[in-house]
């Protein structure tokens, strides 16, 4: 019987080798290396699952992937000659908006986007399931809700037409609320 730490070691090596191949193929047209790199990375959790189970294996592989890549980056740092700044404060690094617009953006991206996402997701619970599988739908929706709100925040903050965005979110909120009424 093979000791479990050998599986751990092999999985770790596969992960490191995968990243190494990706680094070697980086900025070069070497498709075979890229695919081999990704294949090794995909194999890493498979090997890890033998000793640690699938859930731990996927977590270990993703953690190891990040650290291995950072280590490779760290040993390949490019040192450049220092450049001077001009010393002046550039106040135009963010969109120039009024305080009212900033407050409006905060309210639309915060409470309004949250309400729209929350109610829309709650509506999905009912649409996606019957009473017998509502537990699963609830959990799925719980995972979707933060993502939906996050996407809405990006949309609001990227938009230059705050009123239109607010209006659309308000429509979603009202429609979802009506849909949820008994």
């Amino acid at each position: 019987m093979i000791p479990s730490f050998l599986y751990d070691l092999l999985a770790l090596l596969l992960c490191v080798a995968g990243i190494l191949l990706l680094r070697l193929s980086w900025r070069r047209q070497r498709t075979a290396l890229v695919w081999t790199g990704w294949l090794l990375l995909a194999l890493s959790p498979v090997v890890w699952s033998v000793s640690a189970g699938v859930e731990f294996a996927v977590s270990y592989a993703l953690l190891a992937l990040s650290i291995a890549a950072w280590l490779l980056i760290a040993v390949n740092v490019e040192r450049q000659p220092a450049k001077a700044g001009n010393g002046a404060v550039d106040t135009a690094t963010l969109p120039a908006t009024t305080a009212l617009h900033k407050l409006g953006t905060f309210l639309v991206a915060g409470p309004l986007a949250a309400s729209a996402s929350l109610l829309a997701c709650a509506l999905l619970v009912g649409l996606a399931s019957g009473a017998e599988s509502r537990g699963n739908s609830m959990v799925l929706t719980a995972f979707v809700f933060p993502l939906a709100w996050g996407a809405a925040v990006v949309w609001v903050c990227a938009s230059d037409r705050l009123l239109r965005t607010a209006g659309l979110l308000l429509v979603v909120t009202v429609v979802a609320a009506l849909g949820l009424m008994p």
Partner: protein, 481 residues
């Protein structure tokens, strides 16, 4: 087929990324740093209160005696009494209800009260910003959503993020250096950052979602919704009799020999509805525990189904250990520390990029410098306060030092000087903390767990010292926090 977003989308996403990052920057930094340190919460609990007896081996009589002693000592016992069993991370037994908590001696008698206020403050800061929990946890979860928004906008705003995946340029312009660091840490840490953001957001947002869904689908009955997701509570009604903890644990060992019991819950102790629940870790599973239910006589009644119930139940019960890195070996904790630190650096470097982009210096630079370098100092100062003058209100000490650091930076109006001063102060405070710990807990200083923490503090002190005394090349302009 070209998949990259249009220049207009990139521009708008970058603008959104900057706006969100700046609005939540300081709070995100606080959450990330406290979360990183909280990975070692168990170790800090042991370090902070080293006196209680530590042992892994116990028999059922010890638990029975501890429960009896607890029920005798507490006049109004809560609905649930917990007996937390020793684990490799925390090899101590303690018994508690909602308002009381004592360690258990090896003979089953009650030991000292559980008191690790600095660690508790750290956890409270991370989980709820030390606000009332119901409000704070929602705010922190909203920050998890903002982290998701930053990830989404960051990916859209950086079409070259994979093209430059292995590139880190240092020594040139500060903005480029910070941007490279920010992007490299972000792109390769993406799975971890996504997981942390999503699981963090879930903790506080489940409540509002459950409230709305219960109103819409369960006629306002939240318990029915909870039963659908987590499984229904078992209700027993039998004559009152002494709990047979030993019978239950023996049965569990036979039925699930791989399961590791981590705590017992005695529901409605001393009543007709008395129920014993044994929470046990299942090897290879991320679920917090499976709950095995027993009657007062030790008869097996069933299990909650966290390990084999509906998929949603298993998934939702897995987020805690995943978020806090409480699985696998100690190596996982080290990786979580590194990845958490990287996320902290990402949150700081994001603001630094904006500062470098706007160029020059004003009060914003000084305030940010105080925020970034004042917080580690404030955390150490709060721990020091606990050791030297007792742990009445560690948060007051923390806020006092953190605000003081900001005021100092504003007064200096020189980020290099401010940063070096705060780094130096942090290095000195860490040494002082070690010295104080040795004086107060000299007999526990060398215990294996404590030695590891103490060695870590010493190394951290050296790191801060090196940061404070390293030479800054004169050509570097616009020094950043």
């Amino acid at each position: 087929m070209k998949m990259s977003p249009s220049p207009e989308v990139v521009k708008r996403s970058l603008s959104a990324h900057s706006v969100i990052g700046l609005v939540v920057g300081a709070l995100m930094y606080l959450i990330c740093l406290t979360g990183t340190v909280a990975v070692l919460a168990f170790e800090f609990e042991r370090w902070e209160q080293p006196e209680p007896a530590e042992f892994m081996q116990y028999d059922e009589h010890v638990l029975q005696r501890a429960l009896t002693a607890f029920l005798e000592r507490v006049e109004a016992v809560g609905e649930t009494v917990f007996i937390v069993l020793p684990t490799a991370e925390l090899p101590r037994i303690h018994v508690a209800d909602e308002n009381h908590e004592w360690f258990v001696e090896p003979d089953g008698s009650l030991g000292p009260a559980v008191a690790a206020p600095w660690t508790q403050m750290l956890k409270d800061l991370h989980v709820s910003l030390h606000l009332p929990t119901s409000v704070g946890i929602v705010i922190v979860s909203a920050l998890g959503v903002m982290l998701l928004a930053l990830i989404i906008s960051g990916l859209l705003a950086h079409p070259r993020i994979f093209k430059d995946a292995f590139r880190l340029r240092t020594g040139g312009s500060k903005r480029l250096e910070m941007a490279d660091l920010h992007n490299r840490l972000s792109v390769w840490g993406l799975p971890f950052h996504l997981m942390i953001a999503l699981t963090g957001a879930l903790f506080g947002l489940l409540g509002p979602l459950a409230l709305v869904a219960a109103t819409a689908y369960y006629g306002g009955d939240q318990e029915a919704l909870v039963a659908d997701v987590y499984g229904a509570d078992l209700v027993v009604d039998e004559d009152v009799q002494p709990l047979q903890i030993g019978v239950a644990l023996t049965h569990l060992r036979q039925m699930a020999p791989d399961a590791e019991p981590i705590f017992l819950m005695i529901q409605h102790p001393g009543t007709r509805h008395q129920l014993l629940e044994v929470a046990a870790r299942v090897p290879g599973r991320l679920i917090y525990a499976e709950i095995y239910q027993y009657g007062a006589d030790g008869a097996y009644l069933g299990h909650q189904g966290f390990s084999d119930g509906i998929a949603g139940r298993q998934a939702i019960y897995s987020i805690y250990r995943l978020h806090f890195g409480q699985f696998g070996s100690g190596a996982v904790k080290v990786l979580y520390l590194l990845l958490g630190l990287a996320l902290t650096v990402v949150s700081v470097s994001g603001v630094n990029i904006w500062l470098a982009r706007r160029g020059g210096r004003d009060w914003v630079n000084a305030l940010w410098c105080g925020t970034v370098w004042g917080l580690p100092l404030a955390l150490v100062a709060a721990a020091l306060q606990g050791l030297l003058v007792g742990m009445a209100a560690p948060l007051i000490g923390l806020l006092f030092v953190w605000l003081g650091a900001m005021v100092l930076c504003l007064r200096f109006a020189d980020e290099v000087r401010s940063r070096k001063t705060l780094q130096c102060a942090c290095a000195a405070a860490l040494l002082l903390l070690l010295l104080a710990y040795y004086v107060v807990h000299s007999e526990h200083f060398g215990l294996p767990g404590n030695l590891l923490i103490n060695a870590g503090l010493l190394i951290l002190s050296a790191v801060f010292g090196i940061l404070a005394f390293r030479r800054i090349t004169p050509a570097v302009q616009n020094p950043l926090p």
